[in-house]
């Protein structure tokens, strides 16, 4: 491991690991690649505009690809949001989908009952999610390990069930919204949300707030004793995570036009997002992005119906089991220069975690 002796300027707080020169060079590459990909993602969809079509340019993105890329962007938001509370703060909330549901239902209700414009409804949903996170976060974040994970799972299941039984929220039949037909709108909304999430993660990691969260993750008692207000920081991280997840939910609600308990409070959303962060690289900036893109692409291409979908789920299960055993730090960990995927790494990991 090259021991870095040269004076590092102010090392990017994001790379909370061995600040070797190689690692920082790789990180710069990651940033550049990300910028290029973003530029491409912004330009390509424009090819579907009527004016552009009239000019005879090829249709690069058809409806199917719009759907897949928008879903991927949605999961970048959800996974990135989970990463803030699970990856950075070390509190793996297994029921973060509750905010996806609350965001969706709040937007849906504001639009259908209060007939607010879509934009206001989205903002309203985000605010409600943050407020709810603050209320349930204070008691919930006093729990640790298994207990926090399952308690947050419990809150998700219970909330879904309660909303399903309340007529004001459309009861079991869910909520129908006036249709807005525009693939481009929802694509750019989700993409914007994804950029916002990655940007937020970057900001958090480069601020006192991020420093405090990682200190809490590493050792909460030590963090408290050096002056980190652990309760306030944990709740703030939970609210931020909830707000972003709620944003995804609110956009999804109008995009999907119809929401009910099974679509808005589907636990698979929570678990898939955790798997994405784990495979992509927990606690990193681009981990959730890579994980979401890879996994959602896999799910969508094999989603199919009938047997194929079932086999996909089995494949997902095998992938998850293998990832947990062989790949605990995730893909970005290797590109981030922290370690290379060698047999030695796998053997050492197994030795450390196995019996």
């Amino acid at each position: 491991m090259a021991i870095e002796t040269a004076e590092p300027a102010t090392p990017a707080l994001g790379s909370f690991a061995v600040a070797t020169a190689a690692a920082r060079r790789r990180e710069r590459i990651l940033y550049i690649v990300a910028a290029i990909v973003l530029a491409v993602l912004i330009v390509i969809p424009l090819s579907s505009l009527d004016a552009v079509q009239a000019a005879g340019l090829p249709l690069v993105m058809d409806r199917y690809w719009f759907r897949v890329t928008t879903l991927i962007a949605m999961f970048v938001i959800i996974a990135g949001a989970w990463n803030i509370i699970g990856g950075l703060t070390g509190y793996p909330a297994f029921g973060n989908v509750v905010f996806f549901g609350i965001g969706a239902y709040t937007a849906g209700t504001l639009i259908t009952r209060a007939s607010l414009p879509y934009a206001t409804a989205v903002v309203g949903a985000v605010v409600v999610c943050a407020a709810v996170a603050c209320v349930i976060g204070l008691p919930l974040l006093r729990l640790r390990g298994h207990y926090f994970a399952v308690a947050s799972l419990g809150v998700a299941v219970a909330t879904g069930e309660v909303i399903n039984n309340v007529q004001f929220f459309g009861g079991a039949s869910g909520i129908f919204m006036p249709i807005i037909r525009s693939d481009l709108l929802f694509y750019y909304l989700m993409l914007g949300g994804a950029v916002l999430t990655v940007g937020t993660t970057w900001l958090v990691l480069h601020s006192r707030f991020g420093f405090g969260l990682i200190a809490i993750r590493e050792d909460e008692v030590a963090a408290g004793v050096i002056g980190v207000n652990t309760t306030r920081y944990k709740v703030a991280a939970y609210m931020l995570s909830a707000a972003l997840t709620g944003l995804a939910g609110a956009i999804y609600a109008q995009w999907n036009v119809f929401i009910d308990q099974s679509t808005a409070f589907n636990l698979d959303v929570s678990i898939d997002s955790i798997l994405m962060v784990l495979i992509g690289g927990i606690g990193t900036i681009f981990g959730p992005v890579i994980g979401a893109a890879a996994l959602e692409f896999l799910i969508q291409t094999f989603a199919g119906s009938g047997e194929l979908a079932v086999w996909t789920q089995i494949g997902l299960g095998v992938l998850l089991t293998a990832a947990v055993i062989f790949l605990p730090r995730g893909i970005v960990d290797f590109f981030g220069g922290r370690s290379s995927f060698t047999r030695e790494y796998v053997r050492r990991t197994l030795r450390e975690t196995g019996v």
Binding site: A149, A151, V157, E161, N165, V310, W311, E352, T353, G354
Partner: protein, 286 residues
């Protein structure tokens, strides 16, 4: 009121059966098995096949289930979970979720998604005690659950294997120093846990139809039972199961709250107990 209490105790019986295996694996191996409900479903389907194809009564299929489920549990732990048993809890959590995905979907492939149920000549029969109408099936389930708890207590406290399991739960290094192989005892413990699911499965299938993905609620219920009762002792799970049965039945009797709120009640209880007594009422929550 008396009827509600009886119903609660009967329901509690199933929860005890469901909770025992889950509590053992969590207490000794510190693994929260998200795939526990799926294991119960496997046992349910074994019972269903034996009943449909060979006409074997669900209660008589329990021995078969015990053996098959123990073998599955032992293998899963020995091959997969032992690899990451010392990793942070998030990974043991996720690996069991991976197993849940595999098992549920494998069952989907084999049995499709339609509901399966097992009815026997005595399914409908029930015992009338004054105003109380108690289905036989539920009575026997309670009896089997208590028998399972007794057997589990005997294994843990009166056998050399039980001593080894408890020793591993108390101090892993010290256990190795007296010659206990962790790999074997871990697999043994998970196997016994799965065998308990092998008892819960047949009990459930006698009064409820099952589908491959119907296991989820049982995992959550097992969790609530452990939180209510606490870890470390068989008696803790029995009390936890009974209490949970009572709470659920009584809560549903409250006007305005219907059967639709079963999971919501379960989790309201869970979160409340976690916040008030994270140690669980009786046992120590290691």
């Amino acid at each position: 009121m008396a009827e509600l209490i009886v119903l609660g105790l009967l329901l509690g019986g199933v929860y005890v059966a469901v909770g025992l295996g889950f509590s053992l694996v969590w207490g000794i191996l510190n693994i929260v098995n998200l795939a526990y409900g799926a294991l119960v479903m496997i046992a349910g389907y074994i019972t269903w096949i034996l009943s449909v194809r060979y006409g074997l009564d669900p209660f008589l299929s329990i021995p078969v289930n015990l053996v098959v489920m123990f073998a599955i549990g032992y293998a899963v732990q020995y091959v997969a979970i032992n690899r990451i048993v010392r990793a942070p809890f998030l990974y043991t959590f996720l690996i069991t979720f991976g197993l849940d995905l595999i098992v549920v979907n494998a069952l989907l492939l084999l049995f499709k998604a339609d509901f399966r149920s097992v009815n026997t000549f005595y399914s409908g029969a029930s015992l009338a005690v004054g105003p109380l109408v108690v289905p036989y099936v539920r009575l026997w389930s309670l009896a089997v659950a208590m028998a399972l708890a007794a057997v589990m207590w005997l294994i843990l406290n009166r056998t050399r294997t039980g001593d080894a399991i408890q020793a591993v739960g108390a101090d892993k290094d010290a256990a190795r120093l007296v010659g206990i192989s962790l790999r074997h005892v871990y697999a043994l413990t998970f196997g016994i846990g799965a065998a308990c699911a092998g008892v819960a499965g047949p009990l459930i299938v006698t009064y409820q139809a099952i589908t491959p993905s119907a296991g989820g609620p049982y995992t959550l219920q097992a969790f609530v039972v452990v939180i209510l009762g606490g870890l470390g002792r068989v008696s803790a799970t029995v009390v936890g199961g009974m209490l949970f049965g009572l709470i659920e039945v009584l809560a549903q009797a409250v006007p305005g709250v219907g059967a639709g709120y079963t999971n919501a009640i379960a989790f309201a209880v869970l979160v409340a107990v976690l916040l008030l007594r994270p140690r669980g009422l009786l046992g120590r929550l290691a």
